[in-house]
Amino acid sequence: MNWAIQTLNGISMGALLFLLASGFTITFGLARVVNLAHGAFYLLGGYMGLTILWVTKNFWLALLAGGLSIVVLNYFCERYLIRKTQGNELGQVLLTVGIVYVIADIALVIWGGNPLRIAQPEIARGSIELPFGIVYPRYRFLLILFGIIIGTGQWLLYRKTQLGAIVRAGVDNRETVSAMGIDIDRLLAMVFAFAAFLAGLSGVAGGAFLTVYPGAEWDILVLALVVVIVGGLGSLEGAMVGSLIVGLVDAYGRWLLPEFSYFVVFGPMAVLLLFRPTGLFGREV
């Protein structure tokens, strides 16, 4: 019984991580951008959504606003800051860490230091009865479904459409794609916007069951990083499998070994990397 609940907790956490990690991994695959600001995007998306929710009382608008605000923010961060560090990995990492500092500090001033809960929408409140008599919070169950829908949609888009084929080609060899007459910069801008939208949206989705609080930017970022490290940087399938693994391991770890829950997540990751230094689905970078 408990196992089932913890498994569902793990999967729903995995769904949330996937929203954040899939954008991160595709951005890296296509543009070689290591954007640690994704953690801050998650945080700020959550706060923006919360604010819109206070004003409009509409969760879906909040979700949209959380995502869109980050699209705008990321556009400026990318265009005026991150782009200038192209090809310089440590520079990118330190620069985006700087962005996280600034965003998190400003958020602290505006929204204060206490955890704030984003009210769940009407239809997602209460609990749901699943087969075998398992009673589970409706919201987290819907989050799992949402994650599956987004994941499937992304996979279809990535694997089965022409646009996806272009993006995949861009991941493999950007110069050739560019030489074929495809505007790679526009493609990049689209992928960045998409990734940012998912990051902001995941902040709202996560805030509704984890609350939004100062420090959430690092908590979620580190888990998302483990997802992409385990799955392999740049791989969408890797992000799917990685999210599920990390979500489950995190849930079981918190439940069975609360004092070592972090070790339970990071230890196996370190061991995995010894045997597969580029993760499960990753390629040489």
Binding site: V34, G87, G279
Partner: protein
């Protein structure tokens, strides 16, 4: 040039020796912090500036050494020498494990060391029965070796100064040795060094372990200075700020990391005294450094061919391709 250099170091040495007698407590304590964190930045810079790999988890070694020494001193009343050596040893042992990260390359290495650092932070936070959780470990006595006892911050200042100078000189010997040259060779071209018959992985691993051990020395110095340790000591923020120190000062040099430590700690102390938003200022320093001073202050002064923020990456032909296509 030689005489100017000599005069500079002489002035620095005289200042270092008389500082506690001419400055007040605030400044002496700040200088001690600068020395300790400078040593930590120097440890990190062995990897950034010489091997050309970017670790983002060195707070782990620093914190493990600090915690080990703190717990032995405060709970088990071990003598200073035992506690201090155990602290450095624990950092070394941790580095032996975490050093396996050198198997990964580029971004993976950055992210893996970051995640490894997070393990230590997680243990410090969650394993509260042993580490004290958020309350940390306090009540650490002043160091005492035999009949020699440190009786105040002024005494301890000299301990810090001597230890930092000794390890910095040892560091200088190492980076100027054939071993150091090999490391820089690896930074320039791993494949070339491999084809010359060098065991690249072993050199990287050895450098990582040395670096972790040196971070542990800084951690032990820190614990007797601060006399309290808590999870923020192991946090990612410290790892990032220490890397920033190395870059700000000028990586690949010896004075650079200390200079970076001066800049960052003065900014931090000054700003946090006047403004609540010190994190914003810190973030802006991160951004400006990366954009406008990637070679650091030593780079601005000139002469130094410090690799700064763009080693290895620009030299690998494959990466160059992607750079060009970006325009």
């Amino acid at each position: 040039m030689q005489t100017r250099k000599f005069a500079f170091f002489l002035a620095l040495a005289i200042f270092g020796l008389i500082a506690p007698h001419i400055l007040d407590t605030f400044w002496v304590s700040l200088i001690m912090q600068i020395l300790v964190f400078g040593l930590l930045a120097l440890a990190v810079d062995l990897l950034i500036g010489h091997v050309g790999i970017f670790p983002l988890g060195h707070a782990a070694f620093f914190a493990v050494a600090a915690y080990t020494t703190a717990i032995l001193e405060a709970r088990h009343a071990q003598p200073t020498l035992v506690a201090a050596f155990a602290g450095v040893a624990s950092a070394l042992i941790l580095a032996l494990f975490f050093g396996l990260a050198v198997r990964t390359k580029g971004v993976y290495f950055i992210l893996v060391t970051m995640a490894m650092g997070h393990i230590v932070w997680g243990v410090a936070t969650r394993w509260s029965s042993f580490t004290g959780g958020d309350n940390g470990v306090g009540n650490i006595p002043l160091p005492k070796v035999g009949s020699l006892a440190v009786s105040g911050y002024r005494d301890y200042y000299y301990v810090v100064l001597i230890v930092v100078v000794i390890f910095t000189l040892a560091y200088r010997v190492i980076v100027r040795s054939p071993f150091g040259t090999t490391l820089r060779g690896i930074r320039e071209s791993e494949s070339r060094m491999r084809s010359l018959g060098y065991h690249v992985a072993a050199h990287k691993y050895a450098a990582f372990v040395l670096s972790g051990g040196l971070a542990g020395v800084a951690g032990v110095l820190y614990i007797y200075l601060n006399r309290f340790v808590s999870p923020p000591t192991a946090a990612f923020h410290l790892s990032a700020e220490v890397s920033l120190m190395a870059i700000v000062g000028g990586s690949g040099t010896i004075l650079g990391p200390f200079l970076g430590s001066v800049v960052i700690l003065i900014i931090r102390n000054y700003v946090s005294a006047h403004l609540m938003q010190w994190a914003t200022v810190m973030g802006v320093v991160f951004i400006l450094t990366v954009l406008y001073a990637p070679k650091g202050l030593m780079g601005l002064i000139g002469r130094h061919s410090s690799p700064g923020l763009s080693p290895a990456v620009n030299r690998s032909p494959q990466k160059n391709e992607s750079n060009r296509s970006q325009g």
